[in-house]
């Protein structure tokens, strides 16, 4: 705290319409973010459908920490830390599998897939030791919302539902795209590494100003209708849900088109099986509405980005080292739609994707750019004078306005400032 000015360092670095470049490049700030954001707030870890059966496991992460998501014999989902309670060796070296227990290769300590220590080699050396004190570490709180599993290292704090707030409705909207009301994460992940701070990725996800320029090469050659959604005449919106969650709401444009499945660049005729199942599940009127509105484009702070057809998970490894894990969204009961979702996802995202190869180039150039000392600030004032409240009280702006970045930084400051 700077007593002379009464301003916290965060207040000096984060202004209403600008943020300081050092927020992206200072290693000490990165360490503070791990403590105050990644190891405190709710962070998306994995999806229940990735561990469908008893004893399934998949290795995930929270920031640089390796987390094993298991489904134990009782069917409960656990988030265990991949660190032997003896000397710290990683107990799991495979990305996924089915195992009742994990045996550490160092001294053969064995842990059940709910984290309990069930045995160690040559136990006579541990006479009187209470095994229950030597379980695997675990993520303190685990909650899931419609199959999306989140973890928080804080013993107290908002519930997941409170954290998601208004953005929970976007996940409700997402799962309705399945005739059975469920998302499945079954197509495997591409892992795309960038030499850039994680917040360049976070802010880009709902930046509707860049597509017309960054993605001009692919929009031009692919006859894409996406470009128009992000043009000056677009009626699409940016939205700040609070708690750092932000959205690009494309529904106004899709509703103008008034054509089911146009959001995905296709039509009902080409997906007859899916269309029939949606109508059977929801009734003709509601099915039509869902198939016109499409899936959301929402960034759940700090790391879950649902981008209409795919899901990204942002992982920070260092101040200038980040990974985007990305996979096609799959909807239960929609095999014909799912096949197209996988094809489109493979074309557009990941290290060789038509879109993401250029986005990643921008993250990296921004990171190198802000190492320059002047003008010190990132200017985020676009649309500040024309933002307004929607009917639910959330701040909205034009699709190209920087409402999302301002929302993210407002929440960031709250998390980083001492209580």
């Amino acid at each position: 705290m700077n007593i002379m000015t009464g301003a916290s360092p965060w207040e000096r670095l984060i202004r209403p319409d600008r943020v300081h470049g050092s927020l992206y490049t200072d290693p000490e700030i990165f360490e503070a973010e791990l403590k105050n954001i990644w190891y405190r707030t709710w962070v998306y870890v994995g999806h229940e459908s990735e561990v469908p059966n008893a004893n399934d496991y998949v290795v995930k992460s929270i920031g640089p920490q390796s987390v094993i998501m298991t489904r134990d014999e009782q069917g409960k989902v656990n988030l265990l830390l991949n660190r032997c309670s003896h000397r710290g060796n990683q107990v799991c070296s495979y990305e996924r599998g089915n195992a009742r227990s994990f045996t550490c290769p160092f001294h053969s300590w064995t842990f059940a897939n709910d984290g309990r220590l069930v045995g160690y080699a040559f136990p006579d050396g541990y006479e009187g030791q209470d095994k229950s004190q030597l379980a695997l570490g675990r993520v303190t709180r685990v909650e899931s919302y419609r199959g999306f599993v989140f973890g928080s290292f804080a013993a107290d704090g908002p519930t997941l539902k409170e954290h998601l707030g208004g953005a929970a409705e976007t996940i409700d909207r997402l799962v309705r795209t399945s005739p059975e009301g469920e998302v499945e994460i079954t197509a495997g992940f591409l892992k795309h590494r960038v030499k850039a701070n994680w917040k360049f990725i976070l802010e880009n996800e709902c930046d509707g100003y860049h597509p017309a320029f960054v993605h001009t090469s692919i929009f031009g050659v692919a006859d894409s209708m996406i470009g128009k959604l992000y043009g000056g005449a677009s009626t699409a919106l940016t939205r700040d849900y609070g708690n750092g969650h932000t959205e690009i709401d494309l529904r106004p444009e899709f509703r103008k088109r008034d054509a089911p499945m146009s959001w995905f660049g296709t039509s009902e005729d080409r997906l007859p099986d899916y269309t029939a199942r949606m109508k059977a599940a929801h009734g003709d009127t509601t099915a039509r509405e869902i198939m016109i509105d499409g899936t959301p484009h929402v960034m759940i702070f700090p790391n879950l980005f649902i981008a209409e057809i795919q899901m990204f998970v942002i992982q920070p490894l260092g101040v200038d080292d980040s990974v985007q894990h990305v996979t096609a969204l799959q909807f239960k009961g929609a095999p014909d739609l799912n096949r197209r979702l996988r094809q489109q996802t493979m074309g557009s995202v990941g290290p060789a994707g038509f879109l993401l190869a250029d986005d990643s180039e921008m993250y990296e150039r921004c990171h190198r750019g802000v190492l320059a000392r002047n003008p010190e600030w990132i200017f985020l004032g676009r649309g500040e004078k024309r933002e307004r409240q929607d009917e639910l009280g959330f701040t909205v702006g034009h699709v190209t306005d920087e409402v999302p970045s301002r929302g993210i930084w407002t929440h960031y400051r709250k998390l980083m400032e001492p209580d």
Binding site: E95, G188, V194, K195, M346, G347, S360, E364
Partner: protein
């Protein structure tokens, strides 16, 4: 016809083809590279192993012939910023082996290893891969009916791969 060619002659033609492909890729001669494909060509760079089912699981690249053309057209715009400026590239092709001269479909199965040095705005990056081809004679010229590039580290997080691998 293939059966009348001696193995050495065929091997020499195949090696020359692979070196030519490598040079066209290194020198960003996108249209000339595209002409090396058959009309049904498939360009596949799997993720998370060598033997995933590309119809079910995510691949880094899984292009049919029209998507290969789209990839080339995007590179040709000059506004594909990840390749503007272009990466400087040189690759070594080695361990060229004829895996099956006369498979049932008449294509020639060939494999090689490659080591690629990329210098881009981000940094210098080394890429290593096993390449598996099905080559076919079309109008007396060798063409690629499929190319599968198995990056050694395709199970890990990798940097942007926007040149022709």
């Amino acid at each position: 016809m293939l059966s009348r060619e001696s193995s050495a002659t065929l091997m020499s033609a195949i090696t020359a083809f692979l070196y030519r492909e490598a040079r066209l890729q290194d020198e960003h001669q996108y249209e000339a590279w595209e002409k090396l494909w058959t009309d049904d060509g498939v360009y596949w760079v799997p993720a998370n192993g060598a033997d995933i089912d590309p119809e079910r699981q995510m691949s880094i690249i899984y292009d049919n012939r029209s998507r290969i053309a789209l990839r080339v057209r995007q590179l040709m715009t000059g506004k594909h910023f990840t390749q503007t400026p272009q990466s400087n590239l040189r690759r070594l092709i080695s361990n060229v082996e004829l895996m099956d001269e006369q498979p049932d479909d008449g294509d020639i199965a060939v494999a090689s290893n490659s080591l690629i040095f990329e210098s881009s705005l981000r940094d210098d990056t080394l890429w290593a891969a096993r390449n598996e081809y099905r080559l076919r004679h079309v109008d007396g010229e060798l063409r690629m009916a499929s190319k599968k590039v198995i990056l050694v580290n395709n199970d890990k997080a990798i940097y942007t791969l926007s040149f022709l691998v």
